[in-house]
């Protein structure tokens, strides 16, 4: 039997999108909140436009990651707890159908979110990276997919939704602190820099700063993007390993 089926993957993606469509408030929050947050940053750094150019750009890439991580870990936990996951495993659905179903559906949402936020940032808040705005969205979506993959993985270690939410500070916060946004990575103590080197978000920030500073896509940016993609695939594979058809 095939590991993945086009029909089942498409059906699963469609089902997840339908679930989102019935939850208009969540969709509204997902699409609007990042723009509002950026607007807040814009006025905070009113006196220092250069800071906003840097922080705003980085936020554009990080927002989808954090949100998708949270949403995915809770949705997947629900799937485990409500018994639907167990039921799905008695059907022809493969583990990868389910994981990639979530990956694809939330990537579409992330792309929408990223595009809206990027357009607002560029046209209303004068965010003007040297590179192409489309590339910013690409990095944002890649980072969102990474968030989905990490969320799927972490949901395996949470028994309740409270625990799932607690994984956000555990997984996301250290990455955000060490990614080079607050302190440039080169200025960190050696051991912190070593930790930062193995956290995927560091590469997302690096990629965004490359786009901010160079008119054309740089080799470093492509390398960073590949690392983010690789980390996402790795997390998805680990996530698949945590899904068990048989449970005690």
């Amino acid at each position: 039997m095939a590991v993945m089926s086009g029909r089942i993957l498409a059906g699963t993606t469609h089902r997840i999108m339908l679930q989102l469509r019935h939850d208009r408030r969540t969709v509204g929050l997902l699409l609007v909140v990042p723009s509002l947050f950026l607007t807040l940053l814009y006025y905070m750094f009113d006196a220092n436009g250069m800071v906003f150019q840097r922080v705003g750009l980085v936020m554009l890439g990080l927002f989808p990651h954090v949100m998708m991580f949270l949403i995915t870990s809770i949705v997947m936990l629900r799937e485990r707890q409500s018994g639907t996951l167990e039921r799905l495993f008695t059907t022809p659905l493969g583990k990868l159908d389910l994981l990639f179903g979530y990956g694809v559906a939330f990537s579409i949402v992330a792309a929408l979110q990223g595009t809206i936020t990027a357009l607002v940032a560029h046209y209303l808040l004068d965010l003007d990276p040297a590179g192409h705005l489309g590339l910013v969205i690409v990095v944002a979506v890649a980072n969102a997919v990474l968030g989905v993959a990490l969320g799927l993985l972490c949901s395996a270690f949470a028994r309740t939704e409270f625990q799932a939410v607690q994984f956000m500070p555990v997984v996301v916060l250290p990455q955000a602190l060490l990614c080079g946004l607050f302190v440039p990575r080169d200025d960190m103590a050696g051991w912190l820099q070593a930790i930062s080197d193995v956290l995927p978000m560091s590469y997302a920030v690096d990629a965004l700063l490359e786009i901010g500073g160079h008119a054309d896509p740089t080799t470093t940016m492509w390398r960073d993007l590949a690392i983010i993609g690789g980390a996402a695939v790795l997390a998805l594979i680990l996530g698949a390993a945590t899904l068990r058809r048989r449970t005690p």
């Binding site: 469609h14 409500s82 039921r87 059907t91 022809p92 048989r246």
Partner: protein, 245 residues
């Protein structure tokens, strides 16, 4: 081999540190309705989970349609209704059933038919979260029926349903069996047991009766199944205390 759809052989299952099924052996004939009876906590659901292949088994084996339970070939041919409705509350009834139809490779006709069978054709556009408990479990049942599987494992499909609907569902189950589907249906309502070709009574993880409703009644001299089962349980307890004493 040909006649038996499900063969359970010396099945031992542990949940946590407890052994909940103690070397259970039973057979289920093709195209029959088998009732699985027992109080809550007796091991009914565990046995059903083992048959659909989502239960970790300690020892023994379960064979379904000639394949080990849970093998990929079976997933298209076995339908499972869990005890508490496992469907998506944030989708409409029809969207739920259509999703499961997609998984089994069935079309829209199968969706409509399944909805009609469970009496939810009128509520198909309603969100599952707005349904009553009984409607919800029927929506969940429709998701199992829509795959038109050869084997249907139903964990308490009629709980909380109104008497007329319950009767209609049993008529449908009989119809499916006549057409060749093998059904295993758990229940703790004894009057439903009369609809079954064969009954398996489980108590504390042991199979204490495995026969047709008529044979069980005549063996115990009781005129209804409730009394029959009670006397079987008593007889067994007496036996056990003799062994200990």
């Amino acid at each position: 081999m040909g006649k038996s759809a499900i063969t359970v052989d010396q099945l031992v299952v542990h949940r946590g540190r407890r052994e909940v099924l103690h070397g259970l052996t039973a057979q289920v004939a093709r195209g029959s309705v088998t009732g699985l009876l027992g109080s809550s906590g007796s091991g009914k659901t565990t046995l059903l989970r083992a048959i659909v292949g989502v239960q970790v088994v300690h020892s023994g084996s379960v064979t379904v349609l000639g394949h080990p339970a849970g093998s990929p070939k079976l997933r298209r041919r076995v339908g499972y209704l869990t005890q508490s409705p496992s469907i998506y509350p944030d989708l409409t009834v029809r969207e739920n059933v259509r999703y499961f139809a997609t998984l089994y490779g069935r079309g829209d006709d199968a969706v409509t038919e399944a909805l009609k069978t469970v009496g939810l054709a009128d509520a198909e556009r309603q969100l599952v979260s707005t349904l009553s408990g009984g409607q919800r479990s029927r929506a969940s049942l429709a998701c199992a029926l829509v795959g038109q599987p050869d084997v249907l494992i139903l964990d308490e499909p009629t709980v909380g349903q109104d008497p007329v609907l319950r009767d209609e569902l049993w008529t449908k189950f009989r119809e499916l069996a006549r057409a060749g589907t093998t059904l295993v249906i758990s229940s703790h309502v004894m009057d439903e047991a009369e609809h079954c070709d064969r009954l398996l009574l489980i108590r504390d993880g042991y199979l204490i009766a495995d026969d047709s409703p008529a044979a069980i009644k005549s063996a115990t001299g009781a005129d209804n199944l409730d009394t029959a089962f009670l006397s079987m349980i008593r007889a067994r307890q007496a036996e056990a205390s003799l062994e200990v004493g």
